[in-house]
Each structure stands twice: as structure tokens, then as C-alpha cells.
């Protein structure tokens, strides 16, 4: 049962009374070739249970061995997040029973994470926010359960579950922030911007594709409220596995309103995990949070400690790429964009799309105009991310070429976009199939102009007499005849020529 928004205070009202505090836990699936503790491949989409072995199935006697590449990736993430790297750390067993975890414990890290005490600077609401990082630790993913039976396909009412262990044991890095305070009304925006920035960083490091729609990156959002001016934090809820940037923002917004309703009614917020529902932007309760000691963490006896040599850590520091914020500043200068423009581009997830479009020959201002204008509008309409639209940077570059060449005006280009998004092919194919090219044949335009003059002789006379005002009426008529496919500037030119002669 999910909480409806009907009886909740508005977001503004909630923020007038309460100060939100957030904690964000982001899981990133590393793009290693093999799993964390065994040599099974990690490729997505394989047939069920074809990428398993005694270790990741938790069979008796099987022993784990740590993947060097996973440690390397974890250290590079830690360094990019300005963290200290542990001189010595261990894995631990996190004990709980769940069918998607065949060992009955998850191999994780407990009080000795590989990276700790860092920060990530992000941009949101026109300013820079320093998000403090508590820790980044290594662990392994679980298998995938499919619940069968029951009306909704969700776990409630399911008759049984089918489990595929291909994903079990894939390396995960969990990145945990310190409590994020002082964001006030910008909390949801800051949460989104943080996850977006982290995703950019992870992609720039090349340690994961961080595709949220594939679950390669997912966010648990902890939210609590305290009355404005009070020091002590309120009780938090943890909304699990939020898997898009938009959902992060919506989940935080909803939880702020829900907590406010609970507190306004004089009730206590229950510390629990919650599930986010994409369809209506609400959350519903999951299990009541088990206390940390209930997991009975203890050092993993089957794995010896990890003690990364300082020389190796320094070497890895040297492999860090141009960080996304630095790159963004460089691009902003190259593109001549304002801070506000750049922020919008970043929020829309358009930086790479524009870079790619420019690299395919489009001028930056044109690439920006289409991605941030018409395409952003489509994305918004479809409630999708810009990058998920059915149009590629190459196609946008082609569209720009067609408009620059005068084959398309903006109005026609917008129709071409509709065609491309509908799967009708490349811009050129859509132009051909829909017959959308600008009418540049002067003969056809002159015929339409003569028709317009015949239809509005008074207007034509006025223009002949030197009053250009009524020209608009004539041009409008021509545009109508040509179904918008004429180049308006050329029509004006030809019209005035016709009437002056």
C-alpha cells in the first residue's frame, strides 16, 4: 500500500516548517570482466545460471579470491572522490537469509572500508555544494529473483520465486555520503545533481558504464526532517534502489512531504526501508530496518586482508582522467555557455550528447539548441532521460547539416525529429519519406506568390505603393500554400521583387 499524495502538505509548506537531512548510498556495479571473488564472466543478458561456479553459488568448500581489477577500480573511485585509501582493510561477512544470496551472507566490508573521508563538489541551484563522502567500500551483488504468481508480479502474493545467480558476485562499490545538511528546499535537486555528478565521474574513470536503467548504478536515499533551527536529526527512512536521476529527485521530494505529514500529525516517523513507485512518484513501506548488529558482521576468514602498496596507490592517482567538473569548465569556455546554461545541460544529462554531436561536425550552438530545446521537450513529454530518446548524436548532427544547408527550416526540422523519434529512420530518410524539404525552387514559390497576390490584391497594391506592412499577409498565404515548407526569407525577397517590378 503506498501513501497517496492527497493528504500530504505541499512541498513548500513542508519546507516552511522542516529542514531536510539526506544520506545517499549509491551502489555501482563495476565493469570488470569477471566477478569479485571468482572467474565467472559478468556480461549482461546471458542465459540464466550460465555464469556461475561453486564460489558464486556458495557451494561447500569453494574459496573466494579477490579480483585485482576490482580493487584497482575501488581505489581509483576513492581517489577521484578525494578519499583516503586504507593502508590495510578486510572483507567482512554480512549475515542474512535471502534466496538471491546463496551463501547466506554477503561478502562486504564493515568497519574497514577501502576508501573513506572524501568529498565530491557538485553544482545545483546555481551554486556549488560539497558533498562529504563517508566511505566507499567493496562488496558483491546478489542474484536476481523473479516472483511468479500473484496479481502484481511483486513479491506480495507471489507463489514462488525463480532465482538466477548470474549477477551474484558481480563487484559492487557502495559509496556512502555523510549526512547532507543545509540544502533546504534544494534537497531533491542536490540529491539528483550528486548522483548525476557521481555517474559522470564513474563513467569518466571507465570503471563502469553506470547505466541506471540496467541497475548498474542505483541509489538508496535516506531522508529525515527536523524542525527548522533544531540540531538533532529526525528519524530517517531509506528508499531503496531508486534507479533514475529523475526518480531520485522525486523520491526525495515525496519523502519530505510524507515525513512532514507524519510529524504535523504529531506521530513518529518509523525507521524503515521503502520502495519507490515510478508510476505515481510515491513510496511504500518495505521491511522494518534490521539493526546493524543483526547482520552479525565478522571478518571474512576465507579472504586475507587487502593492503594496497602506497606506490600502487600513487600510480593509480596518475591514471585519473580529466574529472567531469574540470571537463565541464573547459567545455563551457569552448561553447561560450553561461553558468546557467551549463547547469541545465548537465542536469539534462546532455553534456556527452552535445560533445558527440559536435565531434560529428555540428557547430556547438546548433548542437546545444536542438538537444536542450526541442529534444529536451520531447524527453520531458515522454518522462524519459534525454539519452534514452530514440535519436543519436549522429542523427542530430545530420539534422543540423540539413538546416545549415537550408534543406530544412526549424519548423520542418521539428517535424523531422518527430519522424526520427517514431523510428522512421535518419533525418535524411524522414525528409525523403515525408517530403519535408524546404521548397527552394523559385518557380514553385513564384507560382504561390502570384496566387497570393491574386487573392489579396489590396495588400499587394499597398506594398507596391511602398507600404511593406501588408507583406506579412501575403507571405503568410504563401507559407500556407506551401504547408510551411518555404524559406520565409526567400519568399519575402521574391515577393518584394515581384511587386517592385
Amino acid at each position: 500500500m503506498s501513501t497517496s499524495t492527497v493528504n500530504l502538505p505541499s512541498y513548500e509548506d513542508a519546507l516552511a516548517t522542516y529542514d531536510p537531512v539526506m544520506g545517499l548510498e549509491v551502489h555501482v556495479e563495476l565493469g570488470t570482466v569477471t566477478k569479485m571473488f571468482c572467474g565467472c564472466p559478468t556480461a549482461f543478458g546471458a542465459d540464466p545460471n550460465t555464469q556461475t561456479c561453486p564460489t558464486c553459488l556458495g557451494l561447500p568448500g569453494a574459496l573466494p579470491v579477490v579480483n585485482t581489477k576490482a580493487i584497482e577500480s575501488a581505489i581509483r573511485i576513492g581517489l577521484a572522490l578525494n578519499c583516503e585509501i586504507a593502508e590495510w582493510c578486510r572483507f567482512a561477512r554480512k549475515n542474512y537469509f535471502y534466496p538471491d544470496m546463496p551463501k547466506n551472507f554477503q561478502t562486504s566490508q564493515y568497519d574497514e572500508p577501502i576508501a573513506f573521508n572524501g568529498y565530491l563538489d557538485i553544482e545545483a541551484a546555481g551554486k556549488t555544494w560539497r558533498i562529504e563522502i563517508e566511505r566507499a567500500h567493496m562488496e558483491e551483488d546478489t542474484g536476481k529473483s523473479t516472483h511468479v504468481g500473484g496479481a502484481t508480479g511483486r513479491i506480495h502474493g507471489a507463489e514462488y520465486s525463480l532465482v538466477d545467480y548470474n549477477r551474484a558476485g558481480i563487484p559492487l562499490i557502495e559509496i556512502v555520503t555523510k549526512p547532507i545538511t543545509g540544502t533546504g528546499e534544494h534537497a531533491p535537486e542536490v540529491a539528483r545533481a550528486y548522483v548525476a555528478e557521481l555517474r559522470e565521474l564513474i563513467k569518466a574513470l571507465g570503471v563502469s558504464e553506470a547505466r541506471m536503467e540496467l541497475g548498474q548504478m542505483r541509489c538508496d536515499a535516506n531522508v529525515s526532517l527536523r524542525p527548522i533551527g533544531r540540531e538533532k536529526f529526525g528519524t530517517r527512512s531509506e528508499t531503496k534502489n531508486v534507479n533514475s536521476l529523475r526518480s531520485v529527485e522525486r523520491a526525495v521530494t515525496f519523502e519530505i512531504r510524507r515525513h512532514a505529514a507524519v510529524l504535523n500529525a504529531g506521530d513518529t516517523v518509523i525507521q524503515e526501508t521503502r520502495h519507490f513507485h515510478e508510476n505515481d512518484g510515491t513510496t511504500s513501506p518495505g521491511r522494518v530496518k534490521e539493526e546493524a548488529e543483526d547482520y552479525r558482521y565478522f571478518p571474512e576468514p576465507d579472504l586475507v586482508p587487502v593492503a594496497p602498496a602506497r606506490t600502487w596507490v600513487d600510480e593509480l592517482r596518475g591514471t585519473l582522467p580529466e574529472l567531469p567538473s574540470v571537463r565541464r569548465n573547459r567545455l563551457q569556455a569552448e561553447w561560450g555557455a553561461t553558468d546557467h546554461d551549463m547547469q541545465s545541460i548537465q542536469n539534462a544529462g546532455a553534456v556527452d550528447l552535445i560533445v558527440q554531436t559536435v565531434s560529428l561536425g555540428a557547430p556547438a550552438d546548433q548542437a546545444r539548441k536542438w538537444w536542450m530545446g526541442e529534444l529536451a521537450r520531447h524527453a520531458n513529454e515522454q518522462e524519459a532521460e534525454l539519452g534514452d530518446l530514440a535519436i543519436t548524436p549522429a542523427q542530430v548532427a545530420e539534422l543540423v547539416t540539413l538546416t545549415t544547408a537550408g534543406t530544412l527550416n526549424d519548423k520542418l526540422a521539428r517535424q523531422v525529429i518527430v519522424g526520427v523519434l517514431a523510428g522512421e529512420g535518419s533525418p535524411k530518410q524522414v525528409v525523403a519519406a515525408r517530403g519535408l524539404a524546404v521548397v527552394s525552387d523559385d518557380g514553385a514559390l513564384l507560382a504561390a506568390i502570384d496566387e497570393a497576390i491574386a487573392k489579396f490584391p489590396d495588400a499587394a497594391d499597398k506594398v507596391r505603393g511602398g507600404n511593406q506592412g501588408p507583406a506579412g499577409q501575403l507571405i503568410g498565404a504563401v507559407m500556407k500554400t506551401t504547408r510551411g515548407q518555404a524559406d520565409a526569407a526567400r519568399v519575402r525577397e521574391l515577393l518584394l521583387e515581384r511587386l517592385s517590378g
Binding site: P48, P99, S161
Partner: protein
């Protein structure tokens, strides 16, 4: 005062999904108390050995660190073999009873 109470044993039994009878709870509480008492004596001995210095707990018997492997694929099991040990299977997946009271 015992080092572990019967309530704590019942809690651990629940977390471990062990269905213990009242008699068994009492029995294990008693046994675990003896075990914990012995461990406490070892701790005392260690403290004396350390002469006031803190001695970190040993988690591994071997003085080794950084046992790792390269990120290179190894052969997997055949799914038929994987599922041969499963009490129930369907669609090449392990079939498990629905999970009650959890989500």
C-alpha cells in the same frame, strides 16, 4: 550473571532461521554461556600478555595480505550441473518458496 541470556539466544536463533524448542533454548543458552566464559578468560590472558598494551584481535591464521587473481575469465559450470543439486528448478532457474513476511 550469565554472559548470554535466553532472550539473546532466541533472537540469534530467529536470525539464523533455527526453530528451537523452549528446552533447546535453555540448553543452548547454558552451553553458549560456558563458551563465552572461556573466551573471556582467553581475553584476560591476552591482556596480561600485552602488559597493558592493546593487542589487536587475530582474524587470520596466516600472515598474508593481497592474495588476488587477475581479471581473467575462468570456465563456468554447466547450468544442468548447477541445477542438479536444487530441490526444485524451473526455466533454468532455482525455484524457491515464496518469502513470507519480508519484502
Amino acid at each position: 550473571m550469565p554472559a548470554i541470556t535466553r532472550e539473546e539466544v532466541a533472537h540469534l536463533a530467529l536470525l539464523s532461521r533455527l526453530d528451537l524448542s523452549e528446552d533447546e533454548l535453555a540448553h543452548y543458552a547454558e552451553q553458549l554461556d560456558v563458551i563465552l566464559g572461556s573466551v573471556a578468560r582467553v581475553s584476560e590472558a591476552v591482556q596480561q600478555l600485552g602488559q597493558g598494551q592493546d593487542i589487536p584481535p587475530t582474524s587470520h591464521a596466516l600472515p598474508l595480505v593481497n592474495v588476488t587473481r587477475p581479471d581473467v575469465e575462468q570456465p563456468c559450470l554447466d547450468p544442468a550441473d548447477v541445477l542438479s543439486q536444487a530441490p526444485a528448478a524451473q526455466d533454468q532457474r532455482f525455484r524457491v518458496p515464496r518469502i513470507l513476511g519480508e519484502d
